[in-house]
Amino acid sequence: MLFLLFALWFSPSHLAAAWAQPTSVRVSLGWDGWIRFGTWNPVTVDVQVDRPVRGWLVVEVPQEFGTQRVRLRHRVDLPPAGGARWHLAVMLSDARRPVRASVVLEEGSPVASAEVAPQPERAAASVVAYLGADPPTPPQEVSSGGRRAVVRLTEELLPDRAAAYASLDLLVVGELDERRLSEAQRRALQTWVLHGGRVVVAGWLLPTAPLSGWLSVAQEVGAAGEAAGLRSVTDGPLRLLHPLPGSQLVVERSRTVAVWASRGLGRVYAWAVGAARVPPDSPLWYLALPAPLPHEGPPEVESRPRVPLAPAAAGLGLYVALWLVAVWLAGRSGLGWLAAGLVLAASAAGMPVLADRVRQSSAVLEAVWVEVAVEGTRRTYGWGRTQAPYRGSHTYTLPSVEAVAVSGGFTEVEVAWLADRVLVRADQAAGERLRLRWEALADVPAPQAEARNGAVVVQGAGGAEGLAFWGSRQAPLERSGASDQWVASRWQPVEPHHPALEAFRWAQPGAATIVEDRPVVAFPPGEGRQGWLVVVGSR
């Protein structure tokens, strides 16, 4: 008997289970705990399982002093002793209540969970992150008020969703080991920069690596001698930077202290010294740090929920007709009462189904989309508004998006990422307004626009009517001789409050400056959609 017990204990399956990591969930908030409230922040969740788990990762985010809960659900399918990491972009607004991450099985039973509380003292107005050993020393105070946090990251902690970078003002790269980056992380970083993000390269990057090469704006060709008495950098050796085509020099007292170049709507800087040698009052910081701009979405439109009457009329009409037939039969034969009972039973089963259909048809999200295409990368910014016609839960469907934020009136919201769409289920009281905001990377080719001899030439627009804006002028797109090529050359004074420019401003607060600087082509939305596709052209 004892031998049998020993044999069982040392059986391979038992040993494997004993040696496997116990199931655990680890969650970390923001940039090493630093958070910017009111915008997307990265949330990293690590899950280790000791048995096969098929279910959901649920991240529960409290809002409005704990009176609202937003649950973000992502599919989990892990083998025994498996593990995975999720980089999420989460809108955080409650500084006191913990964010909870749990793994639950398909049927809803919990496997493991963990929670992390945001620290009110780690709320920042601006975040500067750095990769490498040398911490940068940007100004501690933000010009618009509040303090700036400086956070050390490792490659593994970089988000793989561009939306999560919204809370980051600047990434200072001292060292970058691209082997530690996933393709999704590289793409997210590039998308962020193309759509307005800022990166400082303050070290040496391997130009043959894809991301490093893309971030290279200057070639380091040796030492440029000693810097002494400069405002930009502290005294010491300077690297000699040779600008690559399209890059511009930043010179102080005949010394090149930095080189910068545009990458889409963003900028990449190469500094001639390590980040630690740029003092807080250096002009290089004022060049590199973005100016704070207020973020505005589409204006609130007063609307009342509309209930589609057709399904209700048809369903109730069918019931009344069947009831009348049953009652007519009952007047002729006692068996007719059996028919009446059957009609009643069928209606008891059918009415909730009918009600569910009417509810879903009445829960209509009024969505506004702005797609911004920069250098072929198309990013979608969406806003949705709805008013609950009845109390209870309402479901809204979004296409695949990378981040969703929910605000307005509700008690609980579940956002579930499915393979091909995102479902948002909100528990609301009647008349409560729900506001959704989302961001996504669109995987469809974007038209290309470029300035040529005072005109704007657009390729790949596919025949849509469009309008080009540049400086204080606007011009309609017209077909050119070449196939799928459109030209805007008949310039007129710009309408400053043109809907396309307004929509562009919702997605890019610095839209006015962008339009001054380079051509922007706006295409009206397709059938049944509200919004604009805005293609940022090259000069």
């Binding site: 929920p305 209930v307 109730l316 009652v327 008891a348 009600a355 016609p389 008349g431």
Partner: protein, 234 residues
């Protein structure tokens, strides 16, 4: 009311006769059609969106269904709608049926008719509650209030047919009385039918409303039984 096997058998004969008149005739089907049309309309009216302050078209639809079902059941009992072949209390008083048999028969037949009419309206209530993520039990309780009020009014109407000879006086008394009861919604408190049939009304108010109208019905049918011997003498 004296009971017994004979009473039950003869009372069921009255019930069968009344139901035949109310369902097997063209007019009966027409009345059911009109009731169905009202249920359909009120069901549609109730699908309107709720207001943020808690005002809901469900309330209007619930009261509407109470009024419609109450009207049909009361009008049928008070012979305001004359069904071909229908035997009222006056006719039955002249028949060999005893006073108890007539009173029981009428009470049962009005109960069954009120049940059928309430059952016709209940799916609309169920639909409107399901639309608002409400429980089905709530619609059943509302339907119970509708049934009790309809049966109570039907009892009152039946008693009037036995007590008042003149059709005009009877109509004035019946509809005037019902109108007075319904108009007193603001004075009577939560147990008033218009208040008790509202969605999510307090349970005690609904119970009290049902008890009051069941008592009205029982008293009325007891009055019918007391009245029949005098009718027989006349």
């Amino acid at each position: 009311m004296a009971g017994g096997g004979g009473v039950t058998l003869n009372a069921s004969a009255i019930v069968r006769g009344d139901l035949r008149a109310r369902f097997a005739t063209r007019k009966g089907i027409l009345v059911q059609g009109a009731l169905g049309a009202c249920v359909w309309l009120l069901g549609l009216l109730g699908t309107g969106p709720d207001r943020a302050g808690g005002e809901s078209p469900l309330w209007v639809a619930s009261v509407g269904l109470l009024v419609v079902v109450g009207f049909v059941v009361t009008a049928a009992a008070g012979e305001e709608i004359s069904f071909p072949g229908y035997k009222g209390v006056q006719d039955l008083a002249a028949s060999p049926f005893s006073a108890s048999e007539v009173a029981w028969g009428k009470a049962l037949s009005e109960g069954v008719f009120a049940t059928v009419c309430t059952a016709a309206a209940w799916p609309a209530l169920l639909f409107l509650h399901a639309l608002r993520a409400g429980a089905w039990q709530e619609s059943v309780v509302q339907a119970a209030v509708v049934w009790a009020v309809s049966w109570g009014f039907a009892g009152f109407a039946t008693w009037l047919t036995s007590a008042v000879e003149s059709e005009v006086s009877r109509s004035v008394l019946l509809w005037g009385g019902i109108l007075a009861v319904l108009a007193g919604a603001g004075l009577a408190g939560p147990w008033h039918p218009v208040q008790a049939v509202r969605p999510f009304a307090p349970a005690w108010a609904r119970a009290l409303c049902a008890v009051v109208f069941l008592a009205l019905g029982a008293t009325s049918f007891w009055g019918v039984r007391r009245r029949i011997p005098r009718l027989k003498e006349a």
